[in-house]
């Protein structure tokens, strides 16, 4: 792929039209799916305007939906009750109903990037504050985000860095800052970690708040990434962010999150995106805009090139079925599939990609879907059920319904023989609620369903 062409704006063509399937691709990657009605509105908007709207909504507090405002209040209630474990369900509810899907999606990206788990940081207010911090800086410059994260009590507690004395510099945060947050492996030395740790001495947590203990700060000269100075923590962060490795590292992570799981994009392509980052002084918003409009995102390099995360899998189904559910149970189900928001497995966050899929999680995804159609936990179309949904979209026969699911949910169109096998035994008879559920589960358990 030509690096320059990769990040140039894509234009729809006869082979790659701007249609409902394309809009579904956009909403899967830049959100958590959308209803058929929403997809049609997006199609009518035109692809460029749709992307602009998604990004602009993320920057505009007034674009918050009723659900955003309600869930924000709900978050305050959960925090005041100290119900840390409920934050997962709360965030899933917000992701599902938000009027700013790209903002939540990007916040989830940063949550995986600066991974902090409520399994260790059990104080609800700290985890919620970190969420707010990630969200408020999600599209801004990278440096203020890193500076704030370096002082974030939840992060410091998670990395056992609540005490950092000049006599015994704590290297945990320094190591992760270089390896996981800013540069990536191979771009620093052990000596850089030790010197960086000295810069952060005196940065501690006291009574649940960041606290700079000046008399414990090492005022001496440090040498970090070849630069020397009496760096404090703030100056040290700037030194790290000045490294060209930071641009490549961040560009690579953004491309992996929005475009393709595996290193399909060559180094020169990533370098071209890194140049975008540099040109915008490490500001995220214009780079995300570039990615979402790019040829890399819309052509074969970016279509069906990611494995759906458990959260995307569950929420995309809910969005398509215009359904709501017990979000606490959904959080537990996502946990069993490997991704519970606020509970990343370790400081590396979620590895993603093929890791999501193994024999156990495949069965788990299938069970999650089956449970969605059983009992009364999940309320499709305000509790009116699948029958009402197919009536709404005038899907009279089994193949209408399967085609509709294919177009709304799947990243690659179903092959004719696969469609036939899904429809086997259904024929052209009028469909009962259980027939519809069976068809939906059959589509949901296809290998194609796990691609995004």
């Amino acid at each position: 792929m030509d690096p320059r062409w990769a990040w140039q704006p894509w234009e729809p063509s006869a082979e790659q039209p701007w249609d409902r399937r394309a809009a579904a691709h956009l909403m899967r990657r830049a959100g958590f799916g959308a209803s058929c009605q929403q997809l049609d509105e997006i199609v009518a908007l035109g692809h460029s305007a749709a992307i602009e709207r998604l990004v602009d909504q993320s920057l505009d507090a007034n674009a918050a939906s009723q659900i955003d405002r309600e869930t924000d209040q709900l978050g305050e209630v959960i925090v005041s009750l100290g119900q840390t474990e409920r934050l997962s369900g709360w965030w899933l509810l917000k992701m599902h109903g938000t009027g700013r899907p790209l903002l939540e999606k990007t916040t989830l990206f940063w949550h995986g990037h600066f991974a902090t788990s409520a399994a260790k940081v059990t104080e609800a207010s700290m985890m919620h504050t970190q969420y707010q911090l990630l969200q408020s800086h999600a599209f801004g410059k990278f440096e203020p985000l890193v500076q704030r994260m370096s002082r974030d009590p939840a992060m410091l507690i998670y990395l056992d860095s609540t005490q950092n004395r000049k006599t015994h510099p704590n290297e945990n945060y320094a190591r992760e800052l270089l390896e996981l947050f800013c540069l990536g492996p191979g771009n620093y030395t052990e000596a850089d970690i030790q010197e960086l740790a000295r810069s952060f001495t005196g940065w501690e947590v006291l009574r649940g708040q960041f606290h700079f203990r000046a008399y414990m700060h090492d005022e001496g000269e440090k040498s970090i990434l070849g630069r020397r100075g009496r760096f404090g923590g703030e100056e040290a962060v700037r030194v790290i962010l000045d490294s060209p490795a930071c641009l490549r590292f961040l560009a690579g992570k953004l491309a992996k999150y929005f475009v393709a799981d595996e290193p399909r994009l060559s180094e020169p392509v990533i370098d071209a995106l890194a140049k975008e980052l540099r040109d915008h002084d490490l500001t995220i918003e214009p780079v995300v805009r570039t990615i979402l409009k790019s040829n890399a995102f819309w052509t074969s390099a970016g279509r069906a090139t990611k494995i759906r995360t458990p959260v995307e899998f569950a929420l995309n189904w809910l969005a398509t079925l215009e359904a709501s559910t017990d979000f606490m149970r959904l959080a537990e189900a996502c946990e069993s599939l490997g991704q519970r928001p606020f509970y990343p497995p370790n400081v590396k966050g979620w590895d993603g990609g093929r890791i999501w899929i193994d024999s156990s999680t495949l069965i788990g995804r299938s069970n999650l879907l089956r449970r969605m159609f059983q009992g009364n936990q999940t309320r499709i179309l305000e509790g009116r059920g699948l029958g009402a949904l197919v009536d709404k979209y005038d899907l009279r026969r089994g193949d209408d319904f399967v085609n509709w699911l294919d177009e709304n949910l799947l990243a690659v169109p179903l092959a004719a023989n696969v469609r036939d096998s899904v429809l086997q035994g259904i024929g052209n008879r009028s469909l009962s609620e259980s027939d519809l559920a069976r068809l939906a589960v059959a589509v949901g358990t296809l290998p194609e369903m796990h691609l995004s």
Binding site: E70, Q73, G82, L93, S125, G208, Q209, D326, G385
Partner: protein, 581 residues
């Protein structure tokens, strides 16, 4: 098992026959075998249905959009409604009239062990209407089965010239005014034989049943009777009456009742349904309870004061009072519990001794407590000038009677101070607010009260944490100690606590004031809405509607009360739900 069942049947059959007390024995009992070990009846089904459907609560529910929407979207409900409509058309009467005609004489249900069968008897007021309704139902069911191609085939046969129908496990017959439904041929035949011949020994002839039936309801409702001696003989009650358990809490709550079940011949329960209230009354007659570790801690010795009167300060949500001799309970624990629980008792003893100034908890602390304990949960008024937490919680308190308060005063207040000290250490570790403590002495009481420090709020702007609902307090007086989550509540309860027990038979009593509970819920409407949104995926509007409905329904209840009485010849649990006028 079958041999055991047969021997139990023989045992029941051998009980001497007493003269029939016609007025007190239900008519259905004359059709049921004397060996029936469980009997239940709804004496006036149409009246019960009428009370339920005409009740303001039902009407309120019925008028709710959310209820209507739920029913409308429920396929089962829609099928039921269509079926009912078809039935009314075929019978030529509306359903209340049908219910009155076919079940106006009462409904009874029995279980008979020798046939291992259960039987339902419905007594019609109008035999012709019963037959007509039955025929119409049969026709509808057969029609539905034809359409759907499923359901067991309904076969028709005769028993002694009475038509009998069978479908799957069920078989039924109409004999005179009776509709008889059973799951066993043998039991059905016994009932029909008795209906035709009337020459067998029936439940109505059973002396124990006659005695029990004297307490049947005269107003609309349900009444049931169970032969405990037969259940015991069948080994069914072994699990609940065994000597040792592994659940101290269950033992404290129900140990004495379980002991009564070990010796009683039978138990009865009645449920009276009226517009103003629902009353449940469970009675276990006994001939004096046996002396045992369980009865020792659970019941007051005959003639001695039992539970203290309820404490009901303003804003009471729940008030409970109970007689439990914790000293006896603790000392006889080794007879009541297995090794695992006893290990926990030993652990608790060591910890509690630390808190109680090194005194041995079982022998040097518990003997100073009287076996009377009261619990109160109540709305506490906000303290002027104090920060108001985002979530408003009611206060809770425990009041325990003391033998000699002055002997325990220092021990109890020091124990409280130690608890607060430990809580403060934990708070520091977790970044939570700490408590400041103050001690005041007035008259013959000592008060130690703790308040959450306001400096925490200065450093942590945002919602005031839930802890600020509480001002943990202990007040020790000469005859009572009050442990409370709120100082005002503690002071109020201490001033009310000295009223002496008025009724020696009350072992435990509880009262819930739903109106005050509704106020507590209303104070936390936001968090309830939050809960609803998260767990049901509702929009805020839907969640607010559901929460509002729950609060409104609570407000329609005036009071819920329960009382366990131990009289010389019976143990009686009375529960009442009273509705607001």
């Amino acid at each position: 098992m079958n041999r055991l069942v047969a021997s139990v049947a023989l045992m029941l059959g051998a009980i001497s026959v007493a003269p029939l007390q016609a007025a007190e024995v239900p008519e259905a009992a004359r059709l049921l075998p004397s060996t029936s070990l469980f009997y239940a009846e709804v004496n006036q089904p149409p009246a019960v249905v009428d009370v339920v459907l005409e009740h303001p609560v039902t009407k309120k529910l019925w008028a709710m959009d959310v209820v209507q929407a739920a029913l409308d979207s429920n396929p089962g409900w829609n099928r039921f409604q269509r079926g009912l409509e078809a039935l009314e058309n075929r019978v030529g009467a509306e359903w209340p009239e049908i219910v009155e005609a076919i079940s106006g004489g009462g409904m009874s249900f029995a279980i008979e062990p020798s046939t291992q069968g259960a039987v339902l008897l419905v007594r019609a007021k109008d035999e012709a209407m019963l037959k007509k309704t039955h025929d119409a139902l049969l026709e509808l069911v057969r029609f539905a089965q034809q359409l759907q191609g499923r359901g067991p085939e309904i076969k028709e046969s005769e028993y002694r010239s009475i038509p009998v129908w069978k479908a799957g496990e069920a078989r039924w017959a109409i004999a005179g005014p009776w509709l008889i439904v059973t799951n066993k041929d043998g039991l059905g035949e016994l009932v029909l034989d008795q209906h035709l011949d009337g020459d067998r020994r029936t439940l109505a002839d059973d002396e124990v049943f006659q005695q029990a039936a004297s307490g049947r309801l005269t107003q609309p409702g349900a009444w049931s009777y169970v032969r405990l001696d037969v259940f015991r003989a069948l080994g069914i009650m072994g699990a609940i009456t065994k000597r040792q358990t592994d659940n101290p809490a269950a033992e404290l709550i129900a140990g004495g009742v379980l002991e009564a079940l070990k010796t009683a011949d039978y138990a009865t329960a009645s449920l009276a349904v009226a517009k103003e209230h629902i009353k449940l009354d469970v009675t276990i007659p006994h001939r004096g309870l046996p002396e045992s570790p369980r009865t020792g801690f659970y019941f007051a010795p005959q003639g001695e004061p039992s539970a203290a009167p309820l404490l009901e300060p303003e804003g009471t949500i729940l008030s409970a009072s109970v007689y439990r001799d914790v000293e006896k309970f603790w000392i006889s624990a080794s007879e009541l519990f297995g090794d695992n629980v006893m290990a926990k008792f030993s652990e608790a003893e060591s910890t509690l001794s630390l808190f109680f100034s090194g005194r041995d908890f079982a022998t040097e602390v518990l003997p100073d407590f009287e076996p009377r304990m009261r619990v109160v949960v109540a709305q506490c008024p906000a303290v002027e000038g104090q920060p108001q937490p985002a979530i408003r919680l009611p206060g809770g308190a425990v009041v325990i009677d003391l033998k000699e308060g002055h002997q325990l005063k220092s021990t109890l207040t020091r124990a409280f101070q130690s608890f607060v000290g430990i809580a403060n250490l934990q708070a520091i570790q977790q970044g939570n607010p700490q408590l400041d403590m103050a001690t005041t002495r007035g008259g013959d009481t000592t008060t130690v009260s703790a308040t959450f420090a306001e400096e925490y709020l200065e450093n942590n702007p945002g919602a005031v944490p839930v802890q600020y609902n509480f001002r943990p307090t202990i007040i020790v007086g000469p005859r009572h100690v009050v442990f409370s989550s709120d100082k005002h509540l503690a002071e109020t309860l201490m001033s009310m606590a000295s009223k002496a027990p008025s009724d020696n038979t009350v072992n435990a009593e509880m009262k819930v004031e739903p109106a005050n509970l509704a106020v507590a819920l209303d104070n936390n409407r936001e968090s309830l809405i939050a809960e609803n949104m998260l767990e049901k995926g509702h929009s805020r509007e839907q969640a607010a509607t559901e929460v509002g409905l729950a609060i409104e329904l609570l407000q329609m209840l005036e009071q819920v009360s329960a009382r366990l009485n131990n009289e010389s010849d019976k143990l009686q649990l009375q529960v009442e739900w009273a509705y607001a006028p």
